[in-house]
């Protein structure tokens, strides 16, 4: 009896049966790969190395199967390594036993008998020779514990720590290489003594997905909520911010890229009306300051999106907008690995035609001539400049010529010559050459990790150097991350992580270069023909009057010239951010499955702004000159107030935040079938924001660091135009205020939470969560302060039911349902009437002053969003098709809204928790992995589709004016409508406001009750009645698609996103006022000049109230267009050097990649306008990235 190993302890009871069965078993041919039920699965809690005997042990413990075989049968067999996770029992057996010449018998009660098919050949023939080699993964990282067996024998070995192996074999023998999670390989031994082997990942085996909620990691199988993870392959692509990697990847996560490259996300529609609408970003368990920008994209291991109540409600009062949980890579035990990557990203310069969207010089001239001929449209706000020292305001060069001729200072001939010359000029290429730059981003990253059984460490260093579309702007980022994990004693381990970031940002373009460029007329040339910089002071002054009346030489600076290039070159505008984050945690294993952990995060974010302008800048010269006294007007010398020299402005801000969390974790399986996962804990957090503005330093010299006090008393001094010196803040970018100003705010939270998951027999899961958040910014009334958030959910793993065993084309099928509440914060309101104390004394009275900042909302509480989610996850035909379908209904109640109340209460609107909003939608994600030609050609693709409908269901506002509605959110919120509705005026052509005999025609729009109303005054009545709701500006339908083709060593992938069903306003002609500098006539001029006045507002001929046009023309219904579009986000081509070459180079792997972003767009409007980057805004150019990644 001892010769047999029995899997069950009830040895004697089963002994007889077994003997009988041995003889009764019919002779079927079983292989290890089809012995067991298709759905029998084995879970490994940790990475392990097992003998084959132990493999049988595990299988019998987790399934109903029992094994009988001779106890020495696998005595010489190699051990096999298994990874943490879930694997099919068949696969495990196949990996463990393939290559052995064995016979299997399966009995009716799931007992398997294994026998040798033939005598093991103990003595090998003399031609055997030692073969050595190394086994690596796709990245070239060595794989320890890979089993290598001589086919047809039980002889084998496993690879060591560094992936090396050694085995004796003869030519013609077949080596079977197996490793869980990877495709098996059979290699025939030839004459080579060294055989290196590269293993490829078995895509079919990647079933176990672990999701992270920030508080715990759980198997997606057992989770009931709507969680979604981002594909690993996607995270590994090059990016400056990990946010870029989320675009188009997850159903229901709508992304909008801003002009500066930052990305806003909205998860399942807008959840709040006035409060913060951004999802919560969690890094390694804690919400962080600074968001995506403080995370090294190369360090990210996984991203989980928490979409529904069950997923997110553990985050309580911060979770209504969804949660994005990011987990960074941790070092693995084993040899030190080093990863180096670098890329360069660039694109062409801005497309000025699109970004400026301006009319041609000839068109601009035509418009200005028209305005001048009608006396500036008879306008009150513009009377043509006269001849005197008080007419110094700038006008277009063309207007100046026309006006000088009118004033008789130049002849009509001179004027015509000037106008002819201007209309022939175009400064586009000068702007490109002198003000625009080629955007270039260079990133270098090193990641070093390694460790032993006691301790693991990883360190990453990132340096990124980038510059923007404008000359003078660049940004250097240094980011260091360190992670450490130590096993202090058997039951205690300690984790430590630290982040340090330095951002050095220079914005010498002034941060608003686009508006500077936009203020140039096409004929305003930056550079003279001889290459010298042009004096463009006509952009600042009415030059003929300046020359005539202002004695330049009596001012501190005789040079009054201006040129934007000079400005860029002579200022040093710098912001330095020094950010640090430390996370530490201690985990104590108490009992089997029970741990206690204590974690803390501390963050310190500093930002220092230092803006220096030297006195070569026009800004400084102008400031010093114009703050000198008015004596020049009567022939005297102006009294200088501000000392000559540069100006230095400084300010700083600091955020100090901490979280402290104590948590109990319990994960255990009872009696094989009852699985419990439980966490509970408490947490406190605090965030303090402080900022300081320093008074400016004058007469400052960057070299000597000297500065000077003001030369006069600011309270009695007078500016060059007789105004008091205290007025400078109305006229200039510089301030004379001698005071420092300070501000400080604190948010504190105390929270308790718990989350329980119970799974029975791997088939049925029930989950529940509870959280309460109390804060110093919420009512003290405990009824509101401790108002809880909670969720319940169930999951049914239908695929594991017996009746599904027959349905072989279903790999997996899970039904889920959840319900619960999430919260949101609005920091702008308060439960008690509050006052703002002035940060400085009143300039007139020298007294402290205060204003009422809040009228009080005694029942202020968290906003709550109740969501219901029903979903199904499935995998069919060996993952030829897998996917997820979710349907949800989110109802926000107690939303904070700015509601109308009677003015008698002291205010006409007050924020109350009275709003309600519903988001309904569904999401479908489908994916496939199709090996078209073995491992050489594999297509994997995924597509996600999401639809969301939003409606404000409760919102009270007494009445709406047109400007409320066209103002967009938040003033346009209307009960019963989508929160992002686009409201427009309906144009009704020209209206006769005169008499029949004496007609006066004025453009009009639809008014209340079918009336017509001119665009010269506000339309009377309720705006909802006469304006038209033309649809939502946020796409209800979004689509994301990712396809990837693996062709031998090449990987080609592309991403496509699409948005449908929304609207946007295209560029309107700007009916620009001709006063106050250049006219800035835009490219829609011809549309109006040639338009039908009954279809589009015409250019006024004579209309003193034309200044009222700007309340109408941008908001006409004829400007609204379909915003649907399809965007080719990204194409990526990656080449991995074959192992043969990398070995010679002495590295594990080497990848070279090229990537293109913003490749193209398909638009659904006739005007060539990108709905997300409308004309006259910065539209990202197609960018190209080239990079290399090296592991050794």
């Amino acid at each position: 009896m001892n010769a047999f190993f029995f899997g069950r302890r009830k040895l004697f009871k089963t002994l007889m049966k077994t003997f009988i069965l041995l003889f009764c078993t019919s002779v079927f041919s079983f292989s290890p790969g089809n012995l067991l039920s298709q759905n029998a699965k084995i879970k490994f809690e940790t990475d392990r190395t097992l003998s084959i005997d132990e493999v049988f042990d595990v299988i019998k413990n987790q399934t109903d199967y029992t094994f009988i075989y001779r106890s020495d049968l696998f005595k010489n067999s190699p051990k096999i390594a298994v990874k943490k996770g879930i694997v099919r029992a068949n696969k495990l057996l196949e990996n463990s036993l393939s290559g052995y010449n064995l016979k299997f018998d399966l009995s009716a009660n799931n007992t398997i008998v294994i026998e040798d098919n033939q005598q093991v050949i103990e003595n090998r023939k003399p031609r055997q020779q030692p073969i050595t080699g190394k086994v690596v993964d796709e990245n070239g990282d060595p794989l320890p514990g890979v089993a290598i067996i001589l086919k047809g024998t039980t002889i084998g070995t496993t690879t060591d720590f560094d992936g090396n192996y050694s085995i004796k074999a003869k030519s013609g023998d077949v080596l079977l290489v197996t490793y869980i999670g990877y495709n098996n390989q059979a290699i025939t031994v030839a004459n080579d003594m060294v055989i290196n082997i590269s293993m490829t990942v078995d895509l079919n085996e990647l079933e176990e997905v672990v999701i992270s909620t920030g508080y715990q990691k759980i198997s997606k199988e057992r989770a009931t909520g709507s969680y979604e993870t981002v594909a690993k392959a996607q995270l590994d692509k090059p990016s400056s911010s990990i946010a870029e990697r989320l675009v188009g990847m997850v159903a229901g996560v709508q992304s909008t890229t801003n002009a500066d490259g930052s990305i806003d996300f909205q998860i399942r529609g807008q959840s709040s009306l006035f409060a913060d609408a951004q999802p919560l970003i969690v890094l390694d368990g804690f919400p962080i300051e600074g968001g995506f920008e403080t995370i090294n994209p190369n360090d990210v291991e996984s991203i989980t999106i928490l979409k529904d109540a069950a997923a997110a409600s553990i985050w309580g009062a911060k979770s209504a907008n969804g949660v994005i949980v990011i987990v960074t890579k941790k070092a693995k035990k084993g040899r030190t690995s080093v990863s180096i990557s670098s890329f360069v990203k660039t694109s062409s310069k801005l497309d000025l035609d699109y970004v400026l969207g301006r009319a041609t010089a000839a068109e601009t001239l035509e418009y200005e001539q028209r305005a001048f001929d009608t006396n500036f449209f008879d306008g009150l706000i513009g009377s043509p400049p006269g001849n005197g020292s008080n007419f110094l305001g700038p006008y277009s060069q063309a207007i100046v010529a026309m006006n000088e001729a009118r004033l008789g200072r130049i002849s009509a001939g001179d004027r015509d010559a000037i106008l002819a010359q201007l209309s022939g000029l175009d400064n586009t290429s000068q702007i490109e050459d002198h003000l625009l730059a080629v955007p270039l981003t260079k990133q270098y990253n090193i990641n070093i990790s390694g460790g032993n059984d006691k301790m693991t460490n990883s360190l990453s260093l990132l340096f990124e150097d980038s510059n923007s579309y404008f000359q003078g702007d660049d940004n250097q980022q240094y980011l260091i991350n360190y992670n450490n994990r130590v096993q202090l004693a058997k039951p205690i381990h300690f984790e430590f992580g630290a982040m340090m970031q330095l951002n050095d940002m220079t914005t010498n373009s002034g941060g608003n270069m686009l508006s500077t460029i936009r203020s140039l007329a096409p004929w305003d040339m930056l550079v003279n023909q001889d290459g010298s910089l042009a004096d463009m002071s006509y952009l600042k002054y009415y030059r003929p009057n300046l020359d005539t009346y202002v004695p330049f030489d009596s001012f501190p600076y005789a040079d009054w010239s201006y040129n934007p290039i000079t400005e860029v070159n002579n200022r040093d505008l710098n912001t330095k951010q020094m950010n640090a984050r430390v996370q530490a945690g201690l985990t104590l294993d108490l009992l089997e499955g029970l741990t206690v952990s204590s974690k803390i995060q501390y963050e310190l974010f500093n930002s220092n702004v230092k803006n220096y302008y030297n006195d070569n800048t026009f800004a400084v010269r102008q400031f010093i000159n114009e703050t000198s006294g008015p004596e020049w007007q009567s022939g005297g010398v102006p009294t200088q107030l501000v000392p000559s020299g540069g100006v230095l402005q400084q300010s700083k801000s600091t955020v100090t935040a901490y979280n402290f969390r104590n948590q109990l974790n319990f994960n255990r399986i009872f009696a094989d079938k009852h699985r419990v996962d439980f966490v509970a804990g408490t947490e406190i957090s605090s965030r303090v924001f402080e900022s300081t503005n320093h008074p400016s330093a004058f007469g400052y010299n960057n070299e000597t660091l000297g500065s000077s006090p003001l030369l006069g008393d600011i309270n009695t001094s007078t500016l060059w135009n007789y105004y008091p010196a205290a007025y400078v803040r109305y006229f200039y970018d510089f301030n004379l205020s001698p005071q420092h100003t300070f501000s400080e705010s604190t948010v504190r939270l105390f929270s308790m939470y718990g989350n329980l998951g119970y799974t029975y027999d791997d088939k049925y899961s029930v989950t529940g969560s509870y959280r309460t958040d109390a804060s110093n910014i919420i009512s003290e009334d405990p009824k509101y302060r401790y108002n809880p958030f909670w969720s319940v959910g169930f999951g049914w793993h239908m695929g594991k039911e017996n009746f599904m065993q027959e349905v072989t084309w279903v790999d997996r099928m899970t039904l889920r349902g959840t319900y619960g509440a999430n919260g949101n914060i609005d920091r702008s309101t308060s439960f008690r009437p509050l006052i703002n104390l002035g940060s400085s004394l009143n300039q007139v009275t020298g007294e402290n002053t205060a204003t009422i900042s809040s009228f009080g909302n005694p029942t202020l509480r968290w906003e709550k969003t109740y969501s219901t989610n029903v979903g199904v996850d499935f995998s069919l035909l060996n993952r030829s098709l897998y996917g997820t379908i979710d349907v949800y209904h989110k109802k926000g109640i107690d939303l904070i809204v700015d509601q109308s109340i009677s003015a008698v209460n002291g205010t006409t609107s007050q924020k109350f928790n009275n709003g309600e909003m519903v988001n309904k939608g569904f999401e479908i994600t489908l994916g496939t992995v199709l090996p078209i030609k073995g491992d050489d050609f594999v297509w994997s693709g995924s597509i996600n589709y999401a639809h969301n409908d939003n409606e404000i269901t409760s919102f009270f506002k007494a009445d709406y004016q047109s400007y409320n509605l066209y103002g967009g959110p938040t003033s346009s919120y209307v009960e019963g409508e989508d929160a992002n509705s686009l409201w427009s005026y309906v144009y009704t052509g020209l209206m006769n406001v005169g008499t029949d005999a004496n007609p006066v025609l004025v453009p009009s729009v639809q008014g209340d009750n079918g009336t017509q109303s001119t665009i010269l005054t506000w339309v009377a009545g309720e705006a909802r009645n006469y304006m038209e709701n033309q649809g939502t500006t946020v796409a209800p339908t979004t689509l994301g698609m990712r396809n990837s083709f693996k062709i031998k060593d090449f990987d080609l992938s592309f991403i496509l996103t699409a948005k449908f069903g929304h609207v946007f306003r295209r560029q309107s002609f700007n009916y620009s006022a001709v006063t106050g500098g250049n006219t800035m006539v835009n490219s829609a001029y011809s549309e109006v000049a040639n338009g039908d006045p009954s279809e589009i507002i015409p250019i006024p001929d004579s209309q003193p109230r034309y200044y009222f046009y700007d309340r109408f023309y941008p908001y006409m219904s004829y400007l609204t267009e379909d915003a649907s579009h399809i965007r080719f986000q990204e194409i990526n081509l990656n080449y991995s050097l074959p192992a043969k070459i990398t070995d010679k180079l002495g590295v594990n792997s080497l990848n070279i990649f090229a990537q293109a972003n913003n490749v193209g767009t398909i638009l659904f409007n006739d005007f060539g306008e990108d709905p997300e980057f409308t004309k006259q805004t910065i539209k990202p150019q197609t960018s190209l990235t080239f990079g290399i990644q090296l592991n050794f």
Binding site: D378, Y723, S745, S775, I835
Partner: protein, 497 residues
């Protein structure tokens, strides 16, 4: 659970130290009162355009249509139907915010730290602020107070900051009783009219300010005895007048407009120096005649004096005409091509005229009360104290000084002087009381001729019409904004016409 209790102190941290704080000290409450910008503006278009000081001139409109807007027309023709729908009526909400601020301070006084005696002063000041706002609003939104109108609609009685308090309108009698009660509390204030930062502290209440307001209040109720008594108390404490001969001058900032007549011509416009500063208020506090500084504001920057008002001035010798009636102001407002010359009334910048109780108002109140009580020769002497500071000192004495030969004539002279001195700001209040006293001689029926208009536009091509406001018209009470009636869920009632 113990952690919850211990956590309450953790959560007691104030969210902010400067912005959004719960008032904890008397100084913080006082800082609210120091913030004059929350109190000094009285943006009532109703009383600016409603009175016969405001001129409607079709020729001016013809020259430039931007010289009048529908706002001027609606209030100027007392069109209550359109007026109630106008949404930019900031007078109503701004006055209620002042009441809220007063109530907020009154509510917090007992819980903040600070000197008890000073708390009493602040308490009295808050009652003053409340009484002042109620009185001003009652004069715009309610009928004049008399035995006949006691039961008419008054104002809601708001005594606390709570949004739960009933906001239905009380009767006019209850409203005036509430004002009277607040006024009596306010009269307990014992604070001398001092200086802060070399400026008269006229943005804060003082005994003199409260007495001056009491004089205004009792004059409105035709109680001449009390009006004179309180006016005298105010004058006893402070009676400094700015002498226009020495203390008033033209702006030194040159201002020119190019008109086309038809050739381009430069026209200089001479403003008083008080026109120079748009938002900085030093000049206003420095002016020094207000006991309590308030100002009416006209967002359209157009105070067109009526011909009737212009005719009241001695254009050669009255320095108020010289400095405040600015020739060619219509050019500045756009009537340049064709050019049309019409003067504008300018006090502080283009928009503001002082309206709080002032030394000149007290002199005029005292004089009027004296005349109405029969002491008309004393009344004339009283009014001449003001004339000295306003008339060109080189003029003949009989030009500078008024004289009268009967009580009726004295009353007429005093009331004319009052109109010259306090145009736009007091006229609406005055007409209301003239029409409700026992003296028929001072009654006023306003008539004016102007183009028809609707809510959107003035119909400048149609024939001008005549508009009349009868002596006892119910349109002396302007409607409260419809939006507020909706916002109150119908709890607020509208005036009936």
């Amino acid at each position: 659970m113990t952690s919850i209790i211990s956590c309450d102190s953790f959560l007691d941290e104030r969210p902010s130290k400067t912005t959004s704080v719960v008032p904890e000290t008397l100084e913080q409450l006082e800082a609210l009162l120091n913030n004059y910008s929350n109190f000094i503006n009285q943006a009532s278009n109703e009383l600016i355009f409603g009175s016969d000081d405001y001129g409607f001139n079709t020729d001016l409109y013809d020259a430039s249509t931007s010289t009048y807007g529908t706002t001027e027309a609606v209030y100027g023709m007392w069109d209550v139907d359109i007026a109630e729908t106008i949404t930019s009526r900031i007078f109503w909400p701004v006055e209620w915010k002042k009441v809220f601020t007063a109530n907020l301070i009154l509510q917090n006084l007992s819980s903040v730290s600070g000197d008890e005696a000073k708390k009493e002063q602040l308490r009295a000041e808050c009652h003053f602020i409340r009484a002042y706002s109620y009185f001003e609003m009652a004069n715009v939104f309610c009928l004049p107070y008399s035995d006949a109108t006691k039961g008419e609609l008054g104002l809601p009685i708001k005594q606390a900051t709570s949004f739960e308090e009933n906001i239905a309108r009380a009767t006019l009698e209850e409203t005036y009783a509430y004002i009277e009660a607040d006024l009596q509390e306010a009269l307990t204030l014992t604070k001398t009219f001092g200086q802060v930062n070399n400026l008269n502290n006229s943005w804060r209440a003082s005994t003199a300010a409260v007495n001056a307001f009491a004089a205004r209040y009792y004059l409105a109720l035709n109680d001449n005895v009390k009006a004179q008594s309180y006016a005298q108390k105010a004058l006893d404490e402070y009676d400094v007048l700015r002498n226009y001969n020495t203390d008033m001058y033209y702006s030194t900032i040159p201002s020119e407009v190019t008109i086309f007549d038809p050739a381009p011509t430069q026209v200089p416009i001479q403003y008083p120096y008080t026109h120079d500063q748009q938002t900085v208020v030093e000049d206003r506090f420095e002016f020094g005649e207000s006991y309590y500084f308030r100002q009416i504001s006209n967002a359209g920057w157009k105070y067109w004096p009526s011909q009737e008002l212009l005719d009241l001035y001695d254009q050669d010798n009255d320095l108020r005409y010289k400095y405040h009636v600015v020739e060619g102001y219509s050019y500045d407002r756009g009537a340049v091509d064709p050019a049309y010359n019409y003067p504008g009334y300018i006090f502080f910048f283009k928009s503001d005229i002082p309206s709080g109780p002032s030394v000149s108002e007290m002199i005029l109140t005292k004089a009027e009360a004296q005349v109405r009580q029969g002491a008309w020769t004393e009344g004339i002497q009283t009014v001449n104290q003001l004339r000295v500071a306003r008339m060109d000192m080189t003029a003949d004495a009989n030009v500078i000084n008024l004289s009268a030969s009967s009580q009726e004539e004295a009353l007429t002279k005093v009331l004319e002087e009052r109109r010259r001195e306090l145009p736009f700001s007091r006229r609406w209040f005055d007409i209301r009381r003239y029409n409700n006293n026992d003296t028929p001689a001072d009654d006023v029926v306003i008539t004016r001729t102007f183009y028809p208009f609707n809510a959107n536009t003035i119909l400048g091509l149609e024939t001008p019409q005549t508009y009349t406001l009868d002596k006892n018209s119910r349109r002396y009470a302007y409607p409260i904004p419809t939006t507020d009636i909706i916002a109150s869920d119908g709890v607020l009632e509208q005036n009936t016409y």
